[in-house]
C-alpha cells in the first residue's frame, strides 16, 4: 500500500515541478518586443514600408502575435495613425508592413514605433504588451534651398473620383505664393511655415495629358513648382468574356474591355493589359489586344478549359472566369458550295458542303427558303456534304435559299451561305377572273370584257396571250375566237341582240388556263334601278344588298376607281352567294369624289342581273364653286335667276339645295327669306337668304322688288358639309314702270304708223286723186263733146294764147296803216316793205321796153323750201313773151287765193292788209282786143328769172309743220302746163 502512495506523491511533485519550470520559462521570455525596426519610404506609392524582427521566440515554431503601430507626423507627439497588425510570426522571420500616406511623404517627416503582444492559444493568459520600440524617423528630403518650391506628389496617377492631397514645400517662409489647378486657384491648409497642403476631392478626368497643378511666386513672378496629376478612368471588369472555336485548332476569346482608362498614352508604364490563364494546363498568355486573344488548342484531347481573364493596370486588377467544354463552343464556319440540282416547276435539290472540323462533328444545318410570298425553314443534319430536297415550290418563281450550320450541341450558328434559283414554268393554274360591262344600242350590244391578270402564283409563268371565244347561243354559228396578246386586260365586242357565251383563257409557254365563262343575255332584264346613297369612310364603302330569291352563284360589285377620268379604271369584286354585303376599299378613293357601285347577281347560267345601285362619297366636301347664274325676265318688280348649266353630279358632295342671297338697299327681307350675315374678308354683308330645298330646281324668281332699284345676288349650293364659297354679288337694276308702259304703247303705235305709211304708199294714186287731183284738161272734157255735138259745132276751147293778160295794179299804202302783225307774217310784211320792188308790174305792150322785173306768186298748193337761188331772191327781168303762158295758170282764181286750207298755209288773215293791195283785173272782165292779137306775135320765151323745179306734192292734211319765217320767204313757183 505504501509504494503506490509514494509513487503517486512523487509523480505529483514531478508534475508540479515541470509546470513550474514551464511557467518560469514563458514568464522569462514574455513580452516579445519588436526589434530592428526599419522604415523605408516609397515616394511613388506614397507609402512607408516597415521591417522588423521578433527575437527570442520561445518556440522554434510559430506564434500568433499582434503588433500595434503608431505613426506621427512632423513630431512624435503628433500621432496621426495607429493600428494593429496581426500575423503569425515564425522564428527568425523578418516582418513587413506598409502604410500608405495621404500626404505626400516629401512634405513632412514621419515617425513610426511598434509594440507587440502574443495572441496565441498556446500561451496562457493574460498576454502583456511589450514596450514600444524607439521612434523611427522617415524623411525624404533633409533641407530645401532658399527660393525653391516643390510640389508633391510628382506625376501622381489616380483614379477618377478619388481624393488626392497635394502639398508644397517652400525654401522660404511662405509669402505671396498662390497655387492653381489648371487655370483656377486652389486654397489649402498650412502645415508649417514651409509646408502647405491642398485636398482635392473627387478629381475628374480632364485630359489625357494630365491636370496641371502649379504655384506662382508673386513676389518674383515665377512659376516655382508644378506637378501633373494623371487622372485615369476606373478600370472596368471585362464584359461578355467568351471563347469559341471554328476549327478545333484555335480558341478565339473575346471580351468587352469597357471604358478606356486613357492610361495607354498618359502613363506608359501603367498601361492596362490583359492576360489569359488556363488553370487545367497551367498556361498563361499575355494578350496583345485589349478585346480579343487567340489560344492554341493543344492536341492532347483536352476537353475542358477554365480560363481566367485578368485586366490589370497600375491602379487596379480585374478578372473574370470562364469554364467550358471545347465541343460546346464550336462555331462552324459558313457552308461552302451552295448549289441547286434538278430544278423543276415545283422541286429543287439544294446541296452544300461544310468546312471540316476536327472530329467531323455532326452539324445541324438550317435552310431558309424565301419565295415571293413567304419564307420556309428546314433543318437537316450534316456530316460533310449537305443535301436537301426543296419541294412544293411554285412554278416560275425565283427563290432565295440560304443555309447555316451549328454543332449538335448548339453554341452559335455559322454565317449564312446562300444562292438564288428559279423554278420552271407550268400551265396557268386557275381560270381568269372576268367581268363585263354592257351598253345596249339599237340592235347591238357593246360588251367590254375585262379580266384580271392572274396572280403570279396562278400564272405559273409569263402569260403570252389571252384567247376570247364568242359563241352565239340563240342560233348555231361558227365560234369566233380572238387572240389578244398580253398584257391586255380586256377587249371590246360588238354583238347583236342574241345571247352569247364568252370564254376567256390565258396561255403561257407551257399551257393554257381553264376557261372563264360569262353569258351575255339577249334580254338582260335589267330594270330601272334608282341609285341609293351610301356614306363611305376613309376605309371604303360598306355595301349591302337585299338577299335575292333567285338561284345565284354569287354576286359582283363593280365601280370605277377614277370616275372622273375618261378611262375610269373599271373594277369589280366577286362575292360569294351567301353574302349580301361587302366592303369596297381602294387606295384610289379620294374625298370629294362620287363613286357609283352596281351590284349584280350572277346566275348559275353565268348571266349577270343588275340588282342595285349605290352611290356615295368616302368623304363629302363643301362645294368648291358656285353656279354661273343668268338673269332672265327682268321686270320692274321681279327677275328670275337661272343656273341650268350647273351639274350636280360632279360636285364633291350631294347637292341638297341652293341658297340665293339677295342684297338691296332696303335691307328688308320678303317673306320666305331670312336675314343672313355673310362674313367676307374685308367686311360683313347683311342680305336676305332664300333657301331652295330641291337640288333639281335651278331657277328662282325674286319678286316684290322696287322699280328702278339696284339688287345684288349670288347663288351657292349647299351640301351636308356646308355651302359653297362666298363669291361676289352680281348687280342687277330693275327698270322703271313707265318705260315699260311706253314700250307697250309706243311699239304698237309705231307699228300702226308704219302700216299706214305703207298703205298710203300703196294707195298714193288714190290719195292724189282725192287730195290734189290733176287739173282737168279742157280738151278732154266731156262737156266739150256735148257742146260740140248739141249746141255749136264751131265752138272751141279758148286758147290761152288768145287771152290778153290782165293787169295787176299794186297800190302802196303808208306803213302807218298797218293794223296788226301776227307772228311770222310780220316779218314777211317787213320784208316786203323793205323790198318794195319785190312784186313787179307786168308790162304791157306799151310800156314794155326790154328786160324788166318779173312777178312771183305764191302758190299755196305747194310747199317748197325757201331757196335763195330762186328767182325771188332778187329781181330778175322777165321777158315779155313769157307772161302769157305763165299767167295762163291763173285762170282759176281759187287756185291762187282759196286753195290753201287753214291748216296747210298762212291764213288769209295773215296776209298783210293795207300794206300792199293786189288788185286783180280779170282779163275776161275787160278784154282788150288790141292786145289779143299782139300776144301770139310774141313767142313764148322762158323767163330768165323763172325756173321750174321738181316739187313734191304734199296733201294738205300731211303738211303739219307750220310755215316758218323762212318758208314765208319761199318763192312761189309757177307751174307750167304738163309739168306737174
Amino acid at each position: 500500500m505504501a509504494f503506490p502512495a509514494v509513487f503517486q506523491t512523487t509523480c505529483f511533485f514531478m508534475l508540479l515541478s515541470l509546470r513550474a519550470c514551464q511557467s518560469e520559462v514563458l514568464t522569462e521570455h514574455l513580452p516579445l518586443t519588436p526589434e530592428a525596426l526599419k522604415v523605408f519610404v516609397n515616394s511613388t506609392q506614397q507609402s512607408l514600408h516597415l521591417q522588423w524582427t521578433v527575437h527570442n521566440l520561445p518556440y522554434k515554431g510559430e506564434l500568433k502575435m499582434v503588433f500595434q503601430i503608431q505613426i506621427s507626423r512632423t513630431e512624435t507627439s503628433n500621432i496621426i495613425w495607429k493600428g494593429n497588425y496581426s500575423t503569425t510570426v515564425k522564428w527568425n522571420e523578418i516582418l513587413h508592413w506598409s502604410w500608405e500616406s495621404e500626404l505626400p511623404l516629401e512634405c513632412a517627416t514621419h515617425f513610426v514605433r511598434i509594440k507587440s503582444v502574443v495572441d496565441d492559444a498556446k500561451v496562457p493568459q493574460p498576454n502583456i504588451w511589450s514596450s514600444w520600440s524607439s521612434w523611427q524617423e522617415a524623411k525624404v528630403q533633409d533641407s530645401f534651398e532658399q527660393d525653391t518650391l516643390f510640389i508633391f506628389p510628382k506625376d501622381k496617377l489616380v483614379e477618377e473620383g478619388s481624393d488626392v492631397t497635394i502639398c508644397y514645400i517652400s525654401g522660404n517662409i511662405q509669402n505671396n505664393i498662390s497655387c492653381y489647378l489648371d487655370g483656377e486657384q486652389i486654397h489649402g491648409e498650412q502645415l508649417d511655415p514651409h509646408v502647405s497642403t491642398f485636398k482635392l476631392k473627387n478629381v475628374p478626368f480632364v485630359r489625357e495629358r494630365g491636370t496641371n497643378i502649379y504655384c506662382v511666386d508673386h513676389r518674383r513672378n515665377t512659376i516655382n513648382g508644378g506637378t501633373v496629376l494623371f487622372v485615369s478612368k476606373v478600370l472596368e471588369e471585362p464584359k461578355n468574356f467568351s471563347c469559341e472555336t471554328q476549327d478545333l485548332k484555335t480558341l478565339s476569346c473575346t471580351w468587352d474591355p469597357g471604358v478606356d482608362t486613357t492610361l495607354a498614352w498618359s502613363k506608359q508604364r501603367s498601361q492596362s493589359y490583359y492576360t489569359l490563364f488556363e488553370s487545367f494546363s497551367g498556361k498563361k498568355k499575355l494578350c496583345k489586344e485589349k478585346n480579343w486573344c487567340n489560344w492554341p488548342i493543344s492536341q492532347d484531347s483536352q476537353a475542358m478549359y477554365n480560363f481566367t481573364l485578368t485586366a490589370e493596370n497600375y491602379l487596379r486588377k480585374r478578372s473574370v472566369n470562364l469554364l467550358f467544354n471545347l465541343t460546346d463552343r464550336v462555331h462552324p464556319m459558313s457552308p461552302l458550295s451552295v448549289k441547286f440540282e434538278n430544278i423543276s416547276a415545283t422541286n429543287a435539290v439544294m446541296t452544300w458542303k461544310v468546312r471540316p472540323t476536327g472530329d467531323y462533328l455532326t452539324l445541324l444545318c438550317e435552310i431558309e427558303l424565301y419565295g415571293e410570298r413567304k419564307m420556309t425553314q428546314h433543318n437537316v443534319s450534316v456530316k460533310v456534304n449537305g443535301k436537301y430536297l426543296l419541294s412544293e415550290l411554285e412554278p416560275d418563281t425565283e427563290y432565295a435559299a440560304r443555309v447555316r450550320c451549328a454543332a449538335n450541341h448548339f453554341w452559335k450558328w455559322s454565317e449564312w451561305s446562300g444562292q438564288n434559283f428559279t423554278t420552271l414554268q407550268a400551265a396557268p393554274l386557275e381560270a381568269l377572273d372576268v367581268w363585263r360591262s354592257v351598253k345596249s344600242g339599237p340592235g347591238t350590244q357593246n360588251v367590254t370584257f375585262f379580266w384580271k391578270l392572274p396572280p403570279k402564283f396562278h400564272a405559273n409563268g409569263k402569260i403570252l396571250h389571252y384567247t376570247v371565244i364568242v359563241e352565239n347561243l340563240d342560233k348555231p354559228s361558227r365560234l369566233e375566237a380572238l387572240t389578244i396578246p398580253a398584257p391586255a386586260n380586256g377587249t371590246e365586242l360588238t354583238l347583236d341582240q342574241s345571247s352569247y357565251e364568252i370564254r376567256v383563257t390565258a396561255s403561257n409557254s407551257v399551257g393554257t388556263s381553264p376557261a372563264s365563262v360569262m353569258v351575255i343575255s339577249a334580254d338582260p332584264g335589267d330594270k330601272e334601278v334608282k341609285a341609293e346613297r351610301i356614306k363611305g369612310s376613309k376605309d371604303g364603302f360598306f355595301i349591302s344588298w337585299k338577299p335575292q330569291s333567285g338561284d345565284f352563284m354569287g354576286y359582283v360589285v363593280d365601280w370605277c376607281d377614277h370616275p372622273q377620268d375618261t378611262l375610269c379604271d373599271f373594277q369589280w369584286k366577286n362575292i360569294g352567294p351567301n353574302t349580301t354585303s361587302t366592303v369596297i376599299s381602294s387606295d384610289a378613293f379620294r374625298p370629294g369624289v362620287r363613286y357609283n357601285f352596281r351590284i349584280y347577281g350572277l346566275s348559275t347560267e353565268r348571266i349577270a342581273y343588275l340588282l342595285e345601285k349605290k352611290t356615295g362619297y368616302t368623304q363629302e366636301l363643301a362645294p368648291l364653286d358656285n353656279p354661273q347664274v343668268d338673269t332672265i325676265n327682268l321686270t320692274s318688280h321681279s327677275f328670275t335667276l337661272s343656273w341650268k348649266n350647273y351639274s350636280t353630279e360632279s360636285q364633291p358632295a350631294f347637292i341638297e339645295g341652293y341658297y340665293v342671297y339677295l342684297k338691296s338697299k332696303a335691307r328688308r327681307c320678303h317673306p320666305g327669306a331670312e336675314k343672313e350675315v355673310l362674313s367676307e374678308i374685308t367686311d360683313t354683308t347683311v342680305c336676305c337668304q332664300y333657301k331652295i330645298n330641291n337640288p333639281g330646281q335651278k331657277t328662282f324668281t325674286v319678286e316684290n322688288l322696287q322699280p328702278e332699284s339696284f339688287y345684288e345676288f349670288f347663288v351657292t349650293p349647299y351640301t351636308s358639309v356646308g355651302e359653297g364659297p362666298n363669291s361676289t354679288f352680281t348687280r342687277v337694276r330693275t327698270p322703271d314702270e313707265y318705260s315699260y308702259m311706253l314700250i307697250r304703247i309706243i311699239l304698237p303705235v309705231i307699228l300702226c304708223i308704219f302700216l299706214l305709211l305703207v298703205a298710203c304708199n300703196l294707195k298714193s294714186q288714190w290719195v292724189k286723186e282725192k287730195c290734189y287731183p290733176d287739173i282737168p284738161d279742157p280738151y278732154k272734157s266731156s262737156v266739150l263733146s256735148l257742146i260740140k255735138s248739141k249746141e255749136n259745132p264751131h265752138r272751141t276751147i279758148m286758147n290761152i294764147s288768145d287771152c290778153i293778160p290782165d293787169a295787176i295794179e299794186v297800190v302802196n299804202k303808208p306803213e302807218g296803216t298797218k293794223t296788226q302783225s301776227l307772228g311770222t307774217r310780220k316779218s314777211l310784211t317787213e320784208t316786203e316793205s323793205t323790198k318794195p320792188v319785190y312784186l313787179y308790174l307786168l308790162p304791157t305792150e306799151k310800156n314794155y321796153a326790154g328786160p324788166g322785173p318779173c312777178i312771183c306768186f305764191e302758190n299755196f298748193t305747194y310747199n317748197q323750201a325757201a331757196s335763195d337761188s330762186g328767182s325771188c331772191g332778187h329781181p330778175v327781168p322777165v321777158p315779155l313773151g313769157a307772161l302769157p303762158s305763165q299767167l295762163g295758170l291763173l285762170t282759176s282764181p281759187e287756185n291762187l287765193l282759196q286753195a290753201p286750207g287753214k291748216n296747210c298755209m298762212n291764213s288769209q288773215g295773215e296776209i298783210p292788209t293795207g300794206e300792199t293791195t293786189l288788185n286783180y283785173v280779170s282779163q275776161l272782165a275787160a278784154p282788150v282786143s288790141g292786145d289779143k292779137d299782139s300776144l301770139p306775135t310774141n313767142p313764148l320765151m322762158p323767163p330768165p328769172c323763172s325756173e321750174y323745179k321738181m316739187q313734191m306734192a304734199v296733201p294738205f292734211c300731211l303738211v303739219s309743220p307750220p310755215l316758218t319765217e323762212n318758208s314765208g320767204l319761199s318763192s312761189m313757183t309757177l307751174l307750167g302746163p304738163g309739168d306737174h
Binding site: K154, G183, R209, N212, I213, D260, W265, S266
Partner: protein
C-alpha cells in the same frame, strides 16, 4: 480664325508633301530664286504659333494665361537673330538643318505619347484634340519639307557634301524618350522650346528675306551653276561657323 488656320496648315502640308515627293524622286529645283522664295514661305508659315505652339499648349493643358506668360523661350536655346544674320549661307543652312532635326526629334517623341485621333472619340474636347493632333502631324511634315529645301539650297550653293541629307518622311525615327520625373517641368520646357522655335523661324525668315533683297549678298552666294559658267568663286565666309541650338530637348 479656325478656317484660316486650316487653310494655312493645308497649304503648308501640300507644299511640304510636294517638296518631300520631289526629294523622294531625287529632284531639286535649280532655280535659286524660286527655291529661296519657297524657303521664305515655309519659314514664314512655320513661325506662326498656331502651327505648333498653340496646339501643343492645348494638348498639354497649358493654355491658361498665367501659364502662357511663362512659356517664353529660354535665352540661348536657339541661335539668336543676330547670330543667324552673321552666318554665311552655308553655315546658316547647316545650322538651320541641325536645329530642325532636333525639333523633329522632339516632335516625334511628343507624338509617341499622344493618342491616335480615333482613340479620342469618347473623350471630352475630342474634336479640338483631334484637330490639334493633326496639326502637330502636319507640322512635322512641314519641317521635313523645309529640310528638303534646305538640302536643295545647299546643293545649289555648291556644298552638297556639307549639307545634311534630308530626313525621309516617316514615323519617329529619333531618340528613345528619356524618362523625366517631373512631367510638369517637361511640359513647360517643351512649351518654351516651341516658343523659341517659332522665334527662331521668324529670324530664319528674315535671313531668307535678306538673301532675296540684298543683291550683293546674292551675288556673293551665287548658285554653283552660275559660278560654273564663268563667274568668280565665292569667297568663303569668315562667319561660316556652325551654330547649334543649346536648348535642352526634353521629351
Amino acid at each position: 480664325m479656325r478656317a484660316l488656320i486650316t487653310q494655312r496648315t493645308l497649304l503648308s502640308l501640300v507644299l511640304g508633301l510636294l517638296f518631300s515627293s520631289m526629294m523622294a524622286m531625287g529632284r531639286c529645283r535649280e532655280d535659286y530664286h524660286a527655291l529661296l522664295s519657297q524657303l521664305q514661305k515655309q519659314a514664314n508659315s512655320t513661325q506662326d504659333p498656331s502651327t505648333l505652339l498653340d496646339p501643343y499648349m492645348r494638348i498639354q493643358g497649358l493654355n491658361f494665361p498665367r501659364l502662357r506668360e511663362h512659356c517664353k523661350e529660354r535665352p540661348g536655346a536657339f541661335p539668336s537673330n543676330n547670330a543667324l544674320r552673321g552666318l554665311g549661307q552655308q553655315a546658316f543652312l547647316r545650322t538651320l538643318d541641325a536645329t530642325l532635326s532636333l525639333v523633329l526629334h522632339r516632335l516625334a517623341a511628343l507624338q509617341r505619347h499622344l493618342p491616335e485621333a480615333q482613340d479620342l472619340e469618347n473623350l471630352p474636347m475630342a474634336r479640338q484634340n483631334t484637330q490639334d493632333l493633326q496639326t502637330l502631324k502636319m507640322a512635322r511634315l512641314n519641317i521635313q519639307g523645309l529640310r528638303n529645301n534646305i538640302y536643295c539650297m545647299s546643293r545649289l550653293l555648291g556644298s552638297s557634301q556639307d549639307a545634311s541629307e534630308p530626313t525621309q518622311t516617316g514615323p519617329g525615327t529619333s531618340l528613345p524618350p528619356t524618362p523625366i520625373p517631373d512631367a510638369f517641368q517637361r511640359k513647360l520646357e517643351g512649351c518654351r522650346f516651341l516658343d523659341g522655335y517659332h522665334r527662331f523661324m521668324r529670324s530664319v525668315g528674315q535671313v531668307f528675306s535678306d538673301w532675296g533683297e540684298s543683291p550683293s549678298r546674292s551675288r556673293r552666294h551665287r548658285p554653283r551653276r552660275a559660278l560654273q559658267k564663268g563667274a568668280h568663286r565665292t569667297r568663303p565666309s569668315s562667319k561660316g561657323k556652325r551654330l547649334t541650338p543649346r536648348g535642352q530637348l526634353l521629351h
